[in-house]
Symmetry: C2
Subunit: 802 residues, 2 copies
């Protein structure tokens, strides 16, 4: 393999197009389409007693109004429970349009189709839905108390309950020299992509087929779902993810009610219909994540080595569980990070509340898990009076212990076995980058200047590249262009760049000759989707494998044409040539012409490349057995298990002694995602992740009142960091190649966000000396905490032994 | 393989749809599209001196007018020479819109696009093209005389010249006991499908892709041509052949000028554009075939055995040679039929004339070749006073001589080797069917009643299933439906039926569960096309091979699920079960769910079939190396060489002694296309072929005047047989399976048409005692022939020895 492109920090190829406004996002499509709008529940919990659409019928331009009663057969069936799990004993999903009962504010009740969105909204406003309000269940503790039920047939509001154990953690804790017990609170947040959801469907009466554009993270699964629900063969449905303005997890859920209803109505009406989510809809009717309460018990020795860890998690999964219980499973397994906890027990209870559903958001349960583990480390260090980095180092899995089996079952149902890493070296790197060892002098200097600063640290391990598979298809056409396709989707990660780098390197062609298509079922029909930091690992390796097939075929055909042994050939700049003899050469574009026995001479080169139209006169068939015409190849990458990326972040923060304003002075990241395809893109992913993590650590929360109304459902009220709040980030790369895949790579998409809350909490705690046991931590929250800590010495750091 | 469906004469599955008007032909699509119309040359040969479009600009609804000068880059380049051949030393093709010189009446000069066809025609009529008329070359002998040239740079109007020889034919003839020499004349005819050509293109600005519907016999090659010409990657072009109302060869030519121009303009204008050929356009601007003059010299022994045969052919290929010289190559190789000619020499000269191009029409040169050989046989019999059947039998290749190498090179560039057949038995069968042996008594009885009847016979061998390949894709979906796709197109042959029969038999599923898609590049990207009686052989075998892959995969997965050895499993009615234990069973639809590790539970059965979403916990990857997700398979069939079907036809005709009206009293066919997939469809193909052959024998001709104007360019003037002219046909099947392909089949699409002119000529000659040396033979032609024969005893049968 040529490595000229692989590993180079080239600029993103998609940016010239996207940065000059030439992106084509969902709402850029279908300008003449009819528009859909939805009447949504204003109540968190209510029974529908009547729907009166009469007033809406006068709206000029109205095309159709649909309620649950109008949905035939499988169209109206409950949405699928995508990822069942034995522990999810009471999985429940909603209907595309509410039937009888609504269970969260924002649940769709009526769909309106009209000539444009304004008219559709006008008509929607005139529809009167009568409700009998039921008592809402809001908040984890209310759900657990189960005074009221979200679903009548789910006792205690408990959807799922799962315990995993390695060793006897309670006993290990009981017998440990030191013990701590504490509670952590993690609030809800959400993916909040700048582009919301959206779906645009058109029925082709000539072809009797459906084309659906969706701002989705999984076009192939949307197709599967639509095929099942609309009773169409999947051969008659094309699903395309156009440019997508961010996903971060929320767009992997499918099919959304709107994703079923818009295509169904488009087919029924024989028209084009589009629905673009507005911001308030995204807040109340898409999905949230993060909300957990954790109870931690830990036992450890004098060196801070954990001997037993027992974590009990209450997880809020909202009103339904279409995506199963992936989030708490990830929290409960991934919180172990780079550590060997001795005995470990984790128990979670996943609870129904009358709020919008909870599904994975970048990090997918890991920020909560890392918050738990890193808070634990800091508390141990404080308790023992040890250096926080030292306590972490004492618990590390060592470089010679890989593969390391944590003894648990991971989210993919496979054993949680770490493949590679070097945590001690990574700790040295992050300490160096942030200036850990010299910090006490720095703190002292700041103190003298009347400033209050602190330093914090957080470590994580992230299972990336979860299976079961992705595929790649690579074709070299007769102009020499290389067309790469993979089924998974893009939401701005830079796939056009990194997949092209892989193909260019594997094939020996200029990257300019490579185009990449993602998320288009017309080009690749089997895929899982883009989530779990899996795109580069899964599709990257699949594309590499497909390229190797193409390369092998190209060398074989070129060998025949050049009368050379394929083993003596190499490909440089798109030309196959004999090693050491550049004049014995044939361009790949000519090899492509030769690869199809149907050598119709559409251009002069093809004409020269062949003398006679069809076949030769040998006894070999024109397409030998086991071969296919065309210079193309397809392959799949399917891992035995996930690969495990790792990283450590550190921050120096300053807190204003009066206002409690929190400022991040320095931020450092060391990240190990195995072999780097493109360091610039990995850094971009990490920087974006840290920015999102800063939001999660300091600003973002979903504020529900007790009736289940989301009080901050707009960008005026839901705070996100601006560039001014995101620190400059110093990044160091480590590369411990994964032994599990041909390219030795690991995922990097979520990494940046995962430990930020833990790091900021660690640094603020260090600056303030006050226990930080909740995320996010806002300045006003810190202000209140200072007041409480002043009155309660138990809130001071280092005094929480049990 | 279950054979329950294979070989059964089931009714055509497409007919309920087609016979109730639910077909969707080209002109049924794109009802709102703009329309294109063409200004065509009114002269057979002229120089364009000016084009004035000013008057047309006033037409309301006009969108665009294009001349050659408006065509950028490769759009305006000469059309491709699709099938080059070393003997085609002076191949020439036209431009999409004429540049400077027009060379046949009907050549497109200007394209007009308007809101509808009426307006487009109105505008076209207002465009004034000034011409300087050049001397036209019309007719084979004028072309050969070369007093004027069609192309200035083609001396003698000779496009191609080719000689093939086996042994020393002139010497063999010279030394033979008997010799004959004569000339045969074959007029032009044409495919004349009831639906003409048509193309409908739409540019998708959202997707930056082009969809083209074309009434074509080769959608994949249209796509290749458009990709090359429009500079689009083929991934951005979809070409679909919708229902097609007959092709018979003319629609395999590509790209037609209109097929380039309509998509190009659709993209340029960002609009939908459609062009549907009208009947006059089809007569003058599509393609013709058949026109040849043959000079034959033959030497033979007392038993009528041919010792040497020397045929010289002048072939009229019209104004251009986009499709090369396939037609005269086929004539010159396939005229040998079931015979061993001893020494053989064939020479052809392919000539330019100022008439529309000549490309293959059902039979593709074979009717001319068989006319030549069978006329020769009859003349030998007459000369020796032998029975015509006996002379043929004396020359047959014997059953134990297969594979039989004729020593020539076939149209596919491969050796002309017959794979199987049994000509003596076939002769017995056809004599029995027509009543050959009792015919003299019948003739005598008729004579006594004042009636003049005759009997005739014709034999042929037809290379079918020409390569290089076709592919098949088969997918079983999670509802149990089987989706079969192949790249080649359908024009009414019954592919929906026979391909489904093959798949149902191979997979063990009910035929009702099978759907077949042809000619849609979205479903299958590589194909050659439907011509040369190749669809069943090529795609049929490819589909069978693909089914076998799917079956093997299904048995493997079912074996795991049932804990059974796959070798103990069989599939019946769509259910995999242990042989002899029907309770150990799993439906194919569940196997399909299991085949994709991404077992999202979209329905209850899928939910039951899997417990956990992604993967198991073994050390095997979810998609093992070399496998792919999904219960689907693709394979190609690529033959070493063609398979050779054969047949014999016989007819009893009555000629009116006064009016020379020719009536076919009885018609019999024995046909051998190897194993029969569906006897009813084979018979349908043969009956349709005979009907078309009767047209070619008695009615159809293209009447050009000396200026190159086609005088009978309408269905008022161009005669075709009605049902009243087509006799009831008695059909016998023989089956000598082809050893060359897995299903043992041979093609049947063209067979019916091939020998009809020879048979009718034989029978009329037998009735009249007058030499029939031309086809077609019309009643008025026979009337004139009688007058000439009365004056010239040399025209009487049996007096032509040299």
């Amino acid at each position: 393999m040529s490595t000229s492109m692989f590993g180079e920090p080239i600029a993103r190829r998609e940016d010239p197009r996207l940065l000059t406004g030439q992106g084509r996002y969902l709402d850029d499509l279908g300008r003449d389409a009819l528009a859909a709008a939805f009447v949504r529940s204003p109540h968190a919990h209510a029974r529908i007693t009547g729907i009166d659409v009469d007033d809406a019928l006068d709206v000029d331009g109205l095309v159709a109004i649909y309620t649950y009663e109008d949905l035939p057969g499988q169209v109206g069936d409950p949405l699928p429970l995508l990822i069942p799990h034995p522990a999810l004993t009471h999985g429940r999903t909603g209907y595309p349009l509410a039937r009888d009962v609504v269970r969260y504010v924002g649940e769709p009740v009526v769909m309106v189709v009209a000539r444009d969105r304004y008219l559709a909204e006008d008509a929607a406003e005139r529809i009167r839905v009568d409700y009998e309000v039921l008592p809402p269940v809001v908040g984890i503790e209310n759900a657990a108390a189960a005074e009221h039920l979200v679903h009548d047939d789910v006792p205690g509001n408990v959807g799922a309950h799962l315990v995993q154990e390695v060793g006897d953690a309670p006993a290990a804790i009981e017998n440990a020299p030191h013990r701590l017990e504490f509670r952590l609170d993690i609030e809800r947040s959400a993916s909040m992509p700048l582009e919301g959801r959206g779906v645009y469907a058109r029925w082709d009466p000539d072809d009797r087929s459906l084309r659906v554009y969706s701002s989705t993270q999984t076009s192939t699964s949307v197709r599967m779902a639509l095929a099942a629900r609309l009773g169409l063969p999947k051969t008659k449905i094309e699903v395309i993810a156009p440019d997508v303005g961010g996903g971060f997890g929320v767009k992997v859920v499918h099919p959304w009610p709107e994703e079923v209803l818009v295509p169904w109505a488009a087919r029924l009406l024989g028209r084009e219909i589009k629905w673009t989510e507005d911001r308030r809809e995204h807040f109340v009717a898409a999905a949230h994540e993060r909300g957990q309460v954790q109870h931690v018990r830990v036992g450890f020795d004098d060196a801070g080595r954990i001997l037993g860890l027992d974590v009990t998690i209450l997880h809020d999964h909202g009103a339904y569980t279409p995506y199963g219980i992936i989030v708490p499973i990830v929290t409960s397994t991934q919180l172990l990070g780079p550590y060997k906890p001795g005995a470990y027990r984790v128990e979670f209870t996943s609870l129904y509340t009358n709020t919008v559903i909870v599904t994975p958001y970048r990090g997918a349960g890991r920020p909560q898990g890392v918050f738990c583990m890193e808070r634990t480390m800091d508390k141990i260090a404080a308790h023992l009076g040890l250096d926080r980095a030292e306590v972490r180092a004492a618990n590390f899995i060592q470089p010679d212990e890989f593969p390391y089996d944590q003894g648990l079952t991971f989210q993919d149902g496979r054993p949680l076995i770490y493949d590679s890493g070097d945590y001690p070296r990574m700790l040295d790197m992050i300490k160096e980058l942030i200036g850990w060892d010299g910090f006490e002098a720095e703190r002292e200097a700041a103190r003298r200047a009347g400033r209050r600063i602190g330093i914090g640290l957080g470590c994580y391990v992230e299972g990336t590249g979860v299976g079961p598979y992705e595929g790649g298809h690579v074709e070299v056409d007769s102009t020499g262009r290389v067309h790469v396709a993979t089924g998974l989707t893009s939401q701005g990660q830079g796939h056009q760049t990194v997949f092209a780098q892989i193909a260019a390197a594997e094939l020996g062609v200029p990257i300019e000759d490579v185009t990449v298509t993602t998320g288009d079922t017309r080009r690749f029909g089997y895929a899982v989707g883009t989530f779990a930091s899996r795109a580069a690992v899964m599709s990257g390796n699949a594309i590499a494998l497909a390229c190797r097939k193409v390369r092998e075929k190209a060398l074989r055909i070129a060998g025949e044409a050049l009368e050379a042994d394929p083993r003596d050939l190499e490909i440089t700049d798109g030309v196959v040539h004999v090693r050491g003899n550049p004049s014995a050469a044939i361009p790949l574009r000519t090899v492509a012409v030769l690869s199809n026995p149907l050598r119709y001479a559409f251009d002069e080169e093809a004409r020269r490349a062949t003398q006679f139209a069809v076949g030769g006169s040998s006894d070999e068939p024109p397409v030998p057995a086991g071969e296919e015409p065309g210079l193309e190849g397809r392959d799949y990458y399917s891992p035995v298990r996930s690969t495990f990326a790792s990283g450590m972040h550190a921050a120096v923060v300053e807190v204003d002694p009066d206002t409690a304003e929190i400022r991040i002075l320095r931020y450092a990241v060391v990240h190990d995602c195995g072999r780097l395809i493109n360091p610039r893109i990995v850094e971009g992913q990490i920087h974006g992740g840290v920015a999102q993590g800063v939001g999660g650590a300091l600003y973002e929360r979903m504020v529900y009142d007790e009736s289940g109304q989301l009080l901050n459902a707009s960008f005026m009220d839901f705070l996100m960091p601006y560039a001014t709040e995101v620190p400059r980030i110093r990044t160091g790369h480590m590369q411990t190649p994964s032994p599990l895949n041909p390219l030795g790579i690991k995922g990097a998409g979520e990494a940046g966000v995962i430990p930020v809350s833990a790091v900021i909490a660690s640094a603020v705690e260090d600056a303030e000396g006050i226990r930080i046991d909740a995320m996010p931590l806002s300045p006003d929250g810190l202000f209140r905490l200072r007041r409480r800590a002043a009155a309660d010495p138990g809130l001071r750091v280092g005094r929480v032994a049990v």
